[in-house]
């Protein structure tokens, strides 16, 4: 017999950073929330990547709107949780190695400025003031003071701890095996391998596995994995001050190609290690270490920061970003199943976009008008296969 629990307002499936943010904002709005994860907190993609909170890499559009809202929310959250989450509003520096690249950055920054992204052009001769160890061979760059960083696993864990202080419950080590629905299709709750949870709303925050969860609720959502590796160096003194990356990164992020792309984003962390990542390739859930990806990340890092050639790489992170074919997440109520909400498919930006996602979901759950238009994020935008 499965255990039954007192009825809830909402069940959040997934204790990654997105599920944690959904639980936090829902609990803050006064809802009775339970979060279920088959593993521990941050055991999915959240524990396998970096924590860049970027606006610099996004062109104007729905994702940038989400990112700007999220950055504001991260700043608010940081008032109380900043140190615990290792929040660092350090800013980003995007560099180009050719005058043509610099010209492209300039055009990109001009578009972004129109929607509120702050960017300052840095001529080649001033780059070393921002980043003393940067290779002198750069043609120029842009400084994005709004870019920030958190440690993703800590961020998820502390958001959940706050949610629990506000009354939410956390269940780890239980897999959701069914989404229960009324004959008319509306959500009744979920069933795990151990218990039944009754709730009129279920949030799909299952990350890269969000497509499977949608399937349990009878709907099609094509979330697919995009593999990434990150190199982690030995602890170093603060030789890298911002998040630094080469201009090609933006093209890689937006690329639809399945092939391997690497353009290293380099950043220091409060613990000391420098993170160099990340590669992107579509190879399903294949965990095989890609020698080519590691080689390229290392070579690019040493090209941007020649001092890094003398350091040691201690570890590699490997994860599978949850992506949807148009590179936008699925956020909000699913018009096909009353009571089903999606909060997944954030690809390589889920840490950055988590608070906005959580807030928007909580607003919908409590019947408020969401702060942003959710139409571009609707889950039924993909034709069934």
């Amino acid at each position: 017999m499965l255990k039954t629990e007192p009825p809830l307002d909402v069940v959040v499936v997934g204790a990654g950073v997105v599920g944690a943010a959904c639980a936090y904002y829902a609990a803050r709005a006064g809802l009775a929330v339970t979060v279920v994860d088959r593993g521990p907190v941050a055991g999915g993609t959240t524990g396998a990547g970096e924590g860049n909170l970027l606006v610099s890499d996004k062109e104007p559009g729905p994702e940038l709107d989400l990112a700007l809202l999220s950055l504001r929310l991260w700043r608010e959250l940081a008032d109380d949780l900043g140190a615990a989450m290792e929040y660092e509003p350090k800013g980003g520096v995007v560099v180009s190695s050719t005058p043509a690249g610099q010209e492209a950055l300039r055009a990109f920054a001009a578009q972004q400025a129109a929607v509120g992204v702050v960017a300052e052009e840095i001529p080649a001769e001033r780059l070393q003031e921002l980043e003393p160890h940067l290779s002198p061979r750069m043609a120029g760059g842009f400084h994005y003071p709004q870019d920030a960083q958190v440690q993703p696993a800590l961020a998820a864990a502390h958001l959940l701890r706050e949610a629990r202080r506000l009354g939410a419950k956390l269940i780890t080590g239980e897999t959701v095996r069914a989404v229960r629905r009324r004959p008319d299709g509306a959500v009744l709750g979920v069933e795990t391998d151990r218990r039944r949870l009754d709730a009129p709303a279920v949030v799909n925050a299952a990350g890269t596995w969000g497509g499977e969860l949608a399937g349990l609720a009878g709907v099609h959502l094509p979330v697919l994995p995009r593999r990434g590796f990150v190199l982690v160096t030995e602890p170093l003194p603060r030789i890298i001050r911002h998040k630094v990356y080469a201009a090609d990164y933006v093209a890689d992020v937006a690329s639809g190609s399945a092939g391997l792309q690497t353009s290293a984003v380099i950043e220091g962390t409060p613990g000391g290690p420098v993170l160099i990542g990340a590669s992107r390739e579509r190879v399903g859930f294949d965990r095989t270490l890609s020698q080519e990806a590691l080689h390229r990340l290392a070579a690019q890092a040493a090209e941007l920061f020649p001092v890094l050639a003398d350091v040691t790489v201690m570890r590699v992170y490997r994860g599978f970003r949850p992506y949807l074919p148009d590179h936008l997440p699925a956020i909000g109520a699913d018009p096909r199943v009353p009571g089903l909400y999606h909060a997944c498919g954030h690809e390589g930006a889920g840490i950055g976009l988590a608070p906005a996602t959580g807030l928007l979901i909580a607003e919908q759950l409590t019947g408020k008008q969401p702060e942003l238009d959710l139409v571009p994020f609707r889950a039924d935008r993909f034709p069934a296969a």
Binding site: A157, R161, L297, V313
Partner: protein
Amino acid sequence: MPTSPSDVPRYDLAVIGAGPAGLAAAVTAADLGLRCALLDAGRQTGGQYYRHPAPGLGAARPDRLHHGWSAYTGLADRLAAHERAGRVGFLGGHQVWALERTGDGYAVHVTLGPEAADRATVPAAAVLLATGAYERQLPFPGWTLPGVVTAGGAQAMLKAGLVLPGRRIVVAGSGPLLLAAASSLVTAGAEVPAVVEATAYLGYARRPGVLAAVPAKLVEGAGHGSALLRHRVRLRLRSAVVEAHGTDRVTAVTVARLDADWRPVPGTERRIDCDALAVGHGLLPQIELATELGAATRTGPDGAVALQVDARMLTTVPGLWSAGETNGVGGADLAIAEGELAAHAVADRAPRPALVRRRARLRAFAELMAAAHRPGPGWTGWLRPDTDVCRCEEVPVARIREAVEELGAGDPRTVKLLTRAGMGWCQGRMCGPAVAWLAGSGEPGPDRRPFACPVPLSQLAAEQRAAAEG
């Protein structure tokens, strides 16, 4: 693009680790006609058991500290002959950081140390993993004091350089290595006021049938025993060092009795003065290179995760073989037997039935011994909230408990992400077992980590080339 490793002639077999298992495997495989590379992170062959002083040190008679030294010189002579004939290339100072499966074989990725500018890749049709084991550490208050060394480390120091970690050395923990270490220490002139063993020790000694079938082990045990008797070393069973005292260096330890679950029994503490403590709780197989490729594992009776192999020493990964401690800790004789068996299987030749029987006997004994020394769950009873569990990152017990109880970490990996325990230079080899216990998941499960050891960034950035033979 980097040059493909397949452009250069590849070996029939790459053996990783030149301890008893790897040495025996390489010379046997060469006897059977295979062309082998024998790689080891160290400059010399011998591994942990046959560790010996570097040639320049002028140390006299390594055989004094070794049972079975002649077995080693026999293997080393055969290796030298094969090297001269070009059938085996011994690649010392080659630390393997990853195995990559190529179309029909392997690329063995090697670092030649932090000074080397280049990376090296050794191509081979098949790989034999003989990377041995490392010591299981269980923390206790004071374990980070200078003068506290590992039991195997004390043994290794003696064998490699003939230095003693102190004059009056308490030996503590659990497992047969304690007796070996104590016996070496007294033979080298140290005083050992006590050997403190957590178990009752009788688990396997009570099974004479098994012991009688393993004469070499008996002789070795008796050898240790008589040295210990001669030096009046006291064996304290069902006891543990629950604290090391001292400010700049260990000056004394507190020993307490343990109940059957290894929980310290209050009121039984007594202090023993010493200037060093050699402590160890058995060994853990070093198998990351294989688990990273998805090789299946088994949890042995000692709670340690080892590779799962079939009767031919083949892992569940095609072309990847394993011999010695990687299949479950069992000592040098077993390692040699498994190395020889694996070599026969790789060469597709039937081994002598006597070799198969010998291996089965030794493995059975190893399993018995392992069961007797499995740590009991009560050992965490000697921890205090401020005891550092991860000494690299200085993470105390209280922080790990907070991560588990308040932040939702239920496994060692999440504890690591939330506390940094296990992120330092040793990569969790020292704190891994303790973190797993405190995370509530009992003994640690198999670890999948892309890098078996740290790699200089410049070597990753360098183009791939094949390792020079030599």
